[in-house]
Amino acid sequence: MTMLTTELKAEAENLNFYYGSVQALKNINLSVERRKVTALIGPSGCGKTTFLRCFNRMHDLYPHNRYEGRIILYPDKINIISPEIDPIEVRMQISMVFQKPNPFPKSIYENVAYGLRVRGISKKGILDEAVEKSLRGAALWEEVKDRLNSLAVDLSGGQQQRLCIARALATDPRILLFDEPTSALDPTATSKIEELIIELKNEVTIIIVTHNMQQAARVSDYTAFMYLGEIIEFDKTDKIFTAPSSRLTEEYITGRFG
């Protein structure tokens, strides 16, 4: 496996997105590097979550949504938003962690095993192994290993969110999407998740939406600043936060609007 630092994982090309007749994303171009964290920031309503949800075709769940342009997934070079590609196939490769922890009303074990069961895997050995590995990956194993069969909703908010991360990891995704994963959590739980994200990028490519600029600065390698459905600036995180080239970006990161 080559460890080129500039290896691409995904690339959005001239991406437009419409909710009915409302255009929510305008001509987005962005490349996502393999095993790096790419952060999407911007004021609310700027389209960052909309953009993130294009990557695993969540918009296909609702009627009247329309994509234009391409999102190329490497190394296969397939356009994952093409109508010929089944959204389910895309979602099986690109997992997502949501704003609000959303564990299923099942045991901790079954939550993590869910993706594998959906894929028809039911051999206990394989599931056991995947559950342990994913829970370790999400830094939750030590806390729950003695109560894998208790209900997931009984966990604390931060634990629930790490469980959701474990659930997303269990299927070995190519890209892991985070949609404001800490907005519902307290500071302690937040810093745990942030540490985890930094840890995880050794194994998986990550795109994270956050409204918290410090968080973007702490965890990401690249940052895209979005405004009114467009990418205003996309660069290395250090650069964005120390010497932004756009005045709009500067105003946003210095807290003058948003």
């Binding site: 099986m92 997992s95 959303n102 299923f104 099942k106 659930r167």
Partner: protein
């Protein structure tokens, strides 16, 4: 100043009046309990409780009356069971379809029509059971008697479907979308999401719908009175005529039974058993629905 006082008094009077109206509903329940208890008490002064609950013959209108309630209870349960075999699966499946699959427009069209199904008078359903379904079933099952349990059971099931389906659907709709998204994001299909995530999340509500269905089936009267025959029959054979608690009450009420006689009291004793059975299910249903409200 004086105006404020008189205004306050007026407000007070109105509030008290409204309160009494609300309280009247409690008096209805109390009256039901008092009347059923009072007349049943009179009944049990003449009939032993043991005979009533263990006897397998119910012939209170005969010259030598026997007062074993079991045939009526078994008839009630038999018909209830048949109707649930229709209503629960069909109701649940159509609820899943409406909540998870149906396009918005279709759902908004179908739901009022399903409500209309619930509005058809039960006596008309009775007509269907006796004069439409029974002859139809007799073509397949030549041994089927003209009055039987299976035909009113099936029709009652159809009658209950809208209740089961609409309450279950409400419960599934109450499951927040972000829980479903968690499942879809893992590559699950609608079916997998419905069965593995939505149904377990809406479990209390669906259970409440089922319980409501059971309670309705137990209390349903006219379909059974018309199509099941009026024969207290201690059997589980759906091909035979049976009598339920409700249709017994109808049978007695149709005749001229003088106030205060033992026959008169039997309908209150049967009513008491019926009331307690439905009360049991209603309480479970109420508790389950309360649990959903607390969950989200």
């Amino acid at each position: 100043m004086k105006r404020t006082v008189s205004r306050k008094i007026k407000e007070r009077i109105i509030e008290t009046g409204l309160f009494l109206c609300a309280l009247s509903s409690v008096f209805i329940t109390l009256s039901i309990v008092v009347i059923l208890t009072y007349e049943s008490y009179g009944f049990f002064k003449e009939v032993s409780v043991v005979e009533f609950f263990t006897g397998t013959t119910w012939t209170p209108l005969f010259a030598e009356p026997k007062f074993g309630i079991l045939p009526l209870v078994s008839g009630t349960l038999l018909i209830t069971a048949i109707s649930l075999m229709v209503a629960l699966p069909v109701g649940l499946i159509s609820a899943i379809y409406l909540s998870e699959y149906a396009p918005h427009k279709l759902r908004e069209t179908i739901k009022p029509v399903l409500e209309l199904l619930a509005a058809v008078p039960t006596v008309v359903y009775g007509y269907f059971a006796l004069l439409f379904l029974t002859p139809l079933l007799q073509k397949i099952l030549p041994d089927l008697s003209g009055f039987n349990a299976i035909s009113p059971g099936i029709i009652m099931g159809v009658m209950i479907v809208p209740y089961v389906s609409s309450v279950s659907e409400d419960a599934m709709k109450a499951v927040p979308m972000y829980i479903r998204e968690g499942s879809y994001a893992m590559g699950a299909t609608k079916l997998q999401t419905a069965f593995k995530v939505v149904i377990p999340s809406a479990f209390s509500g669906i259970a409440a719908a089922f319980i409501m269905g059971i309670s309705r089936a137990i209390g349903e009267t006219m379909v059974v009175a018309i199509a099941a025959g009026m024969m207290p029959n201690f059997t589980i054979n759906p091909m035979e005529p049976v009598q339920t608690l409700t249709s017994y009450i109808v049978q007695v009420s149709l005749g001229d039974v003088p106030h205060g006689t033992i026959e008169y009291k039997t309908i209150f004793a049967a009513g008491m058993v019926l009331f307690l059975m439905t009360l049991f299910f209603n309480i479970i249903g109420f508790w389950l629905r309360k649990r959903i409200r607390e969950a989200y």
